[in-house]
Amino acid sequence: MPVTPEQPARDALFLGASRLATWALLSLLLAILLTLVIGAWPALVEYGPSFLATDAWNPVEDVYGGLGALLGTIVTAVIAMIVGVPVAFGVAIFLTELCPWPLRRPIGTAIELLAAVPSIIYGIWGLFVLAPVMQSTVQPALAATLGQVPGLGRLFSGPPLGIGMLTAGLILAIMILPIVTTILRDVFQTVPPIYRESAYGLGATTWEVVWHVVLPYSRTGAAGAVLLGLGRALGETMAVTFVIGNAHHIKASLFAPGTTIASTLANEFTEAVGDLYTGALIELGLVLFGLTVLVLGAARWLLARTGLEGKAR
């Protein structure tokens, strides 16, 4: 294309516009942080660091601690990752490496559709379908097997209620599955066919191709997919509210009800009366903000330290 006299002006305009968009995004982030700090100020002043040291949550006495919600957020997200991520890897590898061609499109589309289901549907399904099954079958079975293991057994003890941390974690696992699978599949598809064909040509098995070629090539992208899933698990609100039981006290058993930061906010914000109550809730939001930054930062650092970032592109 010939260079016209307007070209430099247009370039400058484009540069300015994209720069403005970037700064707008960053200042939005700062504004959110600032708003959270201002809103949480009464609670920050009143409780200080001890806010994260107790699971007391008493609107009558105006005593609040975020430990129960913080722990619940982390525990449910961890359950979701333990259950969901291996399955997502399996499905994505099946779709890109093993699945017969005519089936790839339909199965892929079906998974993308799952990702589009609103979270409240998962919550209702969890409460009306999954929770009764958990109470009548899954939890008694877990208590009879894993519950008998010394130490670990405490996680699977207590009366089976159906509703609780374990059910919430499982719902989250199902919810992050489609999004992680879809991204993993796209990432695996970026592996140049020539790499695969070379490996197969050398006599590698499908397993060897996946383990030695596909996964190393797509490590950064795969980590990104898992992080996106983790982000969704940490911030998921309505589905968790339905099945977690919304109790602030920390219990050793995963069968017991708990709460997460997002579900606490969804439950209590509308009816929170008084500066301290509202402040404590906003401080929970601040804690979630910090937790997300921490998780993303830690992941970046891990990737950078192992020298994987960039290299695998």
């Binding site: 929770a131 919304n246 439950n267």
Partner: protein
Amino acid sequence: MRILSCLTLAAAFAIPTVAHADNIAGAGATFPYPLYAKWAEAYRAETGIGVNYQSIGSGGGIKQIKAKTVDFGASDMPLKPEVLDMAGLMQWPMVIGGVVPVVNVPGIKPGDLKLTGAVLADIYLGKVAKWNDPAIAALNPSLALPDQAIAPVHRSDGSGTSFIFTDYLAKASPTWKDSVGVSTAVEWPTGLGGKGNEGVAAMTGQTVGAIGYVEYAYALQNKMTYAQMQNAAGQFVTPDGASFQAAAANADWANAPGFHLVLTNPPGADSWPITGASFILMHKTQDEPETAKRVLAFFDWAYRKGDQMAEQLHYVPIPGKVVAVVEASWAKNMSDKDGKPVWTK
């Protein structure tokens, strides 16, 4: 043209109070919302004046009326007289409703199970943890109670229903009063939390061994297994319109300063013990007396013509003699900036 009509439509939804200067706006408690909405519809059909009521919750209603963004606020928890004075507000009861314990125990049918306030408090304290506990069995010698863990279900959101329920438990159990207390949201010692009446109803229905508490209308709509409760007179009563009415009739509104009265555990052999009123909040000094007058006219209309609609929705209307006391307090306590009374009738 199309854009213009879209804009008009958007504006009509966004700022209904500006579009029609005659309309009145309120916000607050979710518990009376179905009734207020029905009243508003009938009132509009009769007078052309729209009432825009948003059920954002009692806490939100109190905030909004303090900030004067609405003409009236609604709360299920009466504010204490000193709080009212500080904010320059007044309140009065608008409608009465009952809170009902509902259970999900295999083999137990509606009305079978009998409970006392003390046992109910012990269940929610976690002291009575099995359905075949001697404390429950002693009240129900004829029932075959299973060896099943009790899952007490409470509201996870702040709620007037929880206020009425915890107020009753505090009156029935000194331990509850000292260790948990009374509020729209408390530190529940045990159990599961469900969001809203529908959340508690659903969670109770889905969890075998659960006990919950919901507004009577929800228990009816969901065909839930309600329990009988022992009232202050020692009688076991079934929740229905008659037992709520009896509770309301035995309340002494005339001698309650600022109408600060909670109806739980009222006297009377037929009274349902877990009953509560929902309240309306307005400013004592009105910057726009004409608007205030329109609001009061709506409530006056609701008191006089709304009883049947209330009963259809399983609420209990405020008794006539209480209405007279309420309207006298309007005339006495609400005025414009110059001290002229707003309500003269």
